[in-house]
Symmetry: C2
Subunit: 456 residues, 2 copies
């Protein structure tokens, strides 16, 4: 271990230079003009994997941008890690808002500014450089490792699920590791152990066959917008609790352990409100702010429309009214079950004067990694050793669909060891990545490989 750390010290500057080199490649997956660059990027990664000592290095075609794969499986009896990341990046527009060109990396105040620096090239390089250091100094890894870097994450991982299914046997692993999330605050390592799911639906109400004049018909027909607001107002009580019967049935409660861990995180409701110019925050009674944001399900109306929306006044009773609604779910809520319960509730509330139909549009499960999971605990120890700080336990309010895909097909817990920072501008101008996190991240993965290797 001492040798490995010395190696990191010695190659500190080369590692940064190599990171700069891959950040120069404009691997924008959504832009057909960059398809050559996507190939170059995949080829560079394959060469890098080969040169650090990975085996079975290959570029695997998917029908879109290829997956770069390699493995090191010479630790029989030891756990196997599947490390996933992506080498494609977001587009750069609005380019005029960048302070330096997105593909000409610049180091300022300990951060490297370039498109893809945090999302996700800097984070996949942490794994490559950690593996390099361990293999170079010990000749072996303490665990088995499989690397899967895709080129379509920024365009919805179109071919990833098919790829994982096709290569399911090759990808078998005990843990899936993804480094593509931010830490909660600078200097403090973080593990994201939970994600929310989603159920998204559209509600359509129809009262009459055509729009009506409110003078000639008003008072004797039910207005579908009136009906819609009356129905949707019954989705939550004044405490912010969702009223759909059975909605909370499968919700995993927040454990005391989780509550303690989340409540340690510094969070200022005032700063949060100020950052979005909200006069005041609002959330479910009985829960802390971060629990509301990460660990509790929500009900939001994402869109509503009906009747006259133009300038001026039109005295119409519209024939129809519509709303798009979604619920952020948490483990173990089933989006199909929630869609059914929502639909039944809407139908029970709709007046006889309305035809109502509900379209379930899409959904996904939430995800949570047990805080006692040995792989997660290994990650906690590794991060804490490298950064010299207690690890922040984080959840994420949104979804990362690939997490659930890996968890379901590989049937292994997914560990989200993230090295980004909250102000990394991942999809915006001036994307940046902390070099402190880059180097501490490499060190943490060295420890992590050791910690996982120590598990039965």
């Amino acid at each position: 271990m001492k040798k490995t750390l010395e190696f990191l010290e010695k190659h500190h500057d080369r590692y940064e230079q190599e990171l700069i080199d891959i950040l120069k490649v404009p691997s924008i997956s959504s832009n057909p003009d960059n398809s050559e660059d996507m190939r170059d990027m995949a080829e560079m990664l394959k060469q890098e994997m080969r040169s650090i000592g990975m085996d079975n290095t290959q570029i695997i075609e998917t029908g879109g941008h290829p997956v770069v794969y390699s493995e090191w499986l010479n630790a029989p009896g030891k756990p196997t890690l599947l490390i996933y990341g992506h080498y494609d990046v977001q587009p750069v527009d609005p380019i005029e808002l960048w302070n330096s060109p997105p593909f000409e990396p610049v180091i300022k105040n300990g951060k490297i500014f370039a498109r893809g620096s945090a999302d996700d090239k800097g984070q996949i390089y942490i794994h490559l450089k950690a593996i390099e250091a361990v293999l170079a100094t010990t000749g072996e890894l303490p665990v088995n490792v499989k690397l899967v870097f895709e080129g379509e994450e920024e365009v919805g991982s179109i071919h990833l699920e098919g790829f994982i299914k096709e290569y399911q046997e090759m990808l078998a692993a005990d843990y899936v590791v993804i480094s593509d999330t931010p830490m909660f605050r600078e200097g403090y390592p973080g593990i994201t152990y939970g994600l929310r799911g989603l159920a998204y639906l559209q509600v359509n109400l129809r009262g009459t066959s055509t729009d009506l004049h409110s003078g000639s018909f008003g008072g004797l027909v039910k207005n579908p917008i009136n009906a819609l607001v009356e129905i949707l107002a019954q989705m939550k009580d004044n405490d912010g609790r969702i009223l759909i019967p059975g909605f909370y049935e499968d919700v995993l409660p927040i454990t005391e352990n989780e509550h303690d861990k989340l409540s340690k995180l510094p969070f200022s409701a005032e700063d949060f409100a100020r950052s979005i110019n909200a006069p005041e925050l609002f959330g479910e009674a009985g829960y802390d702010d971060l629990e509301r944001l990460w660990a509790r399900p929500t009900f939001d109306i994402n869109g509503i429309w009906g009747g006259f929306q133009g300038e001026g006044a039109k005295t119409v009773i519209p024939a129809e009214a519509h709303a798009k609604v979604s619920m952020r779910l948490v483990a173990d809520q089933d989006p199909d079950d929630i869609a059914k319960k929502f639909t039944a509730y809407i139908e029970s509330l709709a007046p006889n004067s309305m035809e109502v139909d509900v379209d379930a549009m899409h959904g996904g499960f939430g995800y949570v990694t047990d805080l006692d999971n040995p792989g997660l605990q290994a990650g906690v120890r590794a991060l804490s050793r490298a950064f010299g700080k207690e690890v922040d336990f984080l959840r994420e309010g949104g979804s990362i669909p690939i997490v659930k895909v890996f968890a379901d097909i590989i049937k292994a817990p997914v560990l989200l060891l993230g090295y980004g920072l909250p102000d990394q501008n991942a999809h915006a101008p001036d994307e940046n990545f902390s070099l402190y996190n880059f180097h501490k991240g490499i060190e943490s993965i060295v420890y992590f490989l050791e910690e996982i290797g120590g598990l039965k």
Copy 2:
């Protein structure tokens, strides 16, 4: 009177021919190509007024299409009627849906088909022909009469209010008579004695300065669409009663007399629902259907919008949400007062997490003529004598803004003696006017002049 009725009998066919002649003129006020026709029409009416014996016949410029005016003021001590009508007509599109050309009048099944036949040339001719018959057979009228026929009713009576104000003294009258409304049913004469008013407002809610991602922010911010539906759901209770504090304060109650009269009208809720394809009707508890439609105020959301309205799913918490709402008012509700009460109520309901503003867009008073008004009673007797049937007492769910303009400036009750039929297609292809109603209408105005002349 006998002579006058014989005159009507004798000139029956000529009257129809003259109606056909004026219906041939395409006096479409909204179409600049017809401005010559508008002039011709005004000129024809002026000649007609002169030839039947009206005095001071003139075409008065307004800045738009002119008003045709005349008077007969040789009945000192007798009441004065101001008879208003309009000589302009609606456009004819979709022309291809007409069964005969709109300006080539055709008589079929006792109805004359032509644009403007019911709305309003047929109805102003009723007055002209009645006056002609009385003057021709008696040499005088039993009342003083002023005729005001405008050319801009179908384009919003743009210059009428200015005209009435300018010529206020010349137009002074004891009663204003307008024949531009339909009867409730074929064969039964009707008087419309009430109109509803209007208060139209827009509600704007803002939660944050920009749209937010529902994954990253959902659960901790109030969604303005959720807030809007919760607020608007509190405008009515389950009985359809409006909950705005003080809303009903100035509502004139429906008298027992009115209730009896309205309840005599044959009205089938089933047919009404079927005609608009409504699964079921809905109205305020404790009132009959026609009372809900005509004599009670309403609250309707005319438009609502916010967030994502496109195809598919977008998990946005929008920054803003909006609604256009209107209330049909009844006498004596004041639209400004109602707008203030609505605004105060909305502000009291809005959560602290929202910025709310309410724009009062426009409004108008409702109108009602006292059923005991002697002029109205004279109309009832006249109509009943001519048609041989009891008169239907009607109200109208919408507004006729000029009624309120006349009532306020002339300071006289407005009597709406209407000779159209419910299926007259006033603004649609195949507009038509019943020739039975035309001739009975003339007879009824002969009686009406006599009845009014008998009043002190």
